[in-house]
């Protein structure tokens, strides 16, 4: 029994050591107000959230728990009242969601664009053609295409582009990963296939990939982010005041400046363009 007791003592010491380290770090957040932000993987994988959230906490006094999931799941979490505020990029799904009546205001925050990336030799020959035609060429040429397949905003846009062409993508050339943008880009890179990606994630991971931007600039490829506040109508425990504070801050001057400057130095171009207060229909002109 003494042997067991030794092991137990060892464990107890280890636990209390790590517990001390843990409480130190947890003491801050638990004493403050905390809200849940459901957002997309692109805002986390690009590193934008790491930049914005501490500044928001400093200005507004709210801690943020960011859940980086696909836009589809983010909207579902909002619908169930599990999140207080959403930052998403799936405009068609968002409009349907807002029409359900459980959300508060939906405001334009920023945009960047989707780009079609693929092998540098461009086997389907899609450079310089409109996005819709590019998708058609990929499908008919049989060059590979890798889809997110995860109901994210990017996946929603991809499906929209197929639908406009009345193409039902299936067959050997079409693969669905069910994973985030980073993982999907790597599958495309490893299999010399095309994929649709947001520019921010592509730029931040370009160094690891054998992919080039082969089609860009079409207005159909705009990638627009909105912040959506949730209300008590979605669930009793939603915190509309936190949601409003976050949405106000994201569309305010400090956040908009930070968004404009984010990544500009490292990548030679901004990853996101701030759009608060603009008319969505004028974007990309």
């Amino acid at each position: 029994m003494r042997r067991v007791r030794r092991a137990a003592v060892f464990l107890t010491v280890l636990l209390s050591l790590t517990a001390c380290a843990g409480t130190e770090q947890a003491a801050g957040p638990s004493t403050e107000k905390s809200l849940i932000l459901a957002t997309t993987t692109s805002t986390q994988d690009s590193g934008l959230l790491d930049e914005l959230l501490p500044a928001f906490t400093e200005d507004a006094g709210w801690q943020v728990k960011p859940l980086a999931v696909g836009s589809g799941q983010a909207i579902e979490l909002g619908r169930r009242g599990e999140a207080d505020v959403l930052l998403v990029h799936s405009p068609k799904a968002e409009e349907d969601f807002v029409a359900e009546g459980t959300t508060g205001p939906r405001r334009l925050v920023m945009h960047n664009d989707f780009v079609l990336v693929g092998p540098p030799e461009d086997p389907a020959g899609i450079r310089g053609v409109p996005a819709e035609e590019a998708m058609r060429k990929i499908a008919t040429s049989g060059a590979g295409f890798v889809s997110r397949g995860d109901e994210s905003g990017t996946h929603a846009r991809e499906k929209q582009l197929w639908e406009q062409n009345e193409i039902v993508p299936s067959g050997q050339w079409y693969r669905s990963t069910g994973q985030g943008m980073g993982a999907t880009l790597r599958v495309a890179s490893e299999t010399s296939a095309y994929t649709l990606t947001d520019r921010a994630t592509y730029l931040s991971q370009k160094a690891n990939l054998g992919l080039e931007v082969v089609n860009e600039g079409d207005k159909a490829l705009l990638n627009v982010y909105h912040v959506i506040e949730m209300t008590k109508r979605a669930g009793d425990r939603v915190q509309p005041d936190g949601a409003k504070a976050f949405a106000d801050w994201m569309t305010g001057e400090r956040a908009q400046t930070m968004i404009r400057e984010f990544g500009a130095e490292e990548f030679g171009q901004p990853l996101f363009l701030p759009d608060a207060g603009k008319d969505e229909s004028t974007l990309g002109d």
Partner: protein
């Protein structure tokens, strides 16, 4: 292949320069997984003992359940705990989702069946006549049980270590109930997944190596504690 070498260098750099985030993530990983293991052991070992020795109705079925539970996918446990802890769920008012406590609950649920099954196996392996002999020598039932546990102490510790190994390395439940929130619920496995999806492969490998080191350190610590006892006692 460069990535692996870079990962090793990155791991050493993070550990040696005392990178604050890395240490916080490592401490949280240990705190969550050790707490979960201790809870799983306190709950699982008595159940395993009862299943091995007690005359419980449906004992074989229960053992099969525990054995199946050893293969319980963490992501399923994570989903189950998440739904329970949702604001709209039955335990929503506790405000536990996306906290380390929620992670401890989920990981304890993952480790418990392992402890139950391995405890039961360990005790069944002790000579079946052992208890009878002890009773025959005049020991009370309680003393006999104590002697049996002493006899089986190494496999019992192994059961605990197996539970710890399962939870410290799992990512599904930690991701789902913890949310991988920086500075709050980010552990080594979820940090490695995030680094991978950010394309920071060397960093991801580094987190993986640190995970191996701490799992090794914990197991080594327990083993040495046993061994020293064997020499001196």
């Amino acid at each position: 292949m460069d990535v692996l070498g870079d990962g090793l260098i990155e791991a050493l750099r993070l550990l040696l320069t005392g990178d604050e985030d890395t240490w916080a993530i490592t401490a949280l990983t240990l705190r969550v997984s050790l707490s979960a293991t201790v809870i799983a052991f306190l709950l699982g070992a008595p159940v395993g003992t009862l299943l091995a020795l007690g005359r419980v109705r449906g004992r074989r079925v229960l053992l099969a359940v525990a054995n199946t539970g050893m293969g319980l996918p963490p992501v399923v446990v994570g989903l189950f705990v998440t739904v329970l802890l949702w604001r709209s769920g039955p335990l929503g008012s506790l405000d536990l989702l996306y906290t380390p406590t929620a992670m401890v609950i989920a990981q304890a649920a993952i480790a418990a069946p392992i402890v139950v099954a391995l405890t039961a196996t360990a005790l069944q392996q002790v000579d079946p006549d052992f208890l009878l002999q002890m009773r025959g020598l005049g020991a009370t039932r309680f003393r006999a049980l104590g002697a049996l546990l002493v006899e089986a102490k190494l496999p019992l510790l192994a059961a605990g270590m197996a539970g710890f190994g399962a939870v410290v390395s799992e990512v599904g439940a930690a991701q789902m109930v913890g949310g991988n929130i920086a500075g709050e619920t980010r552990v080594l496995t979820t940090a490695a997944v995030l680094a991978t999806s950010r394309g920071q492969f060397a960093l991801a490998i580094a987190f993986g190596l640190i995970l191996l080191v701490i799992a090794f350190a914990v197991n080594l610590g327990i083993t040495i504690a046993q061994h020293r006892q064997r020499v001196t006692g």
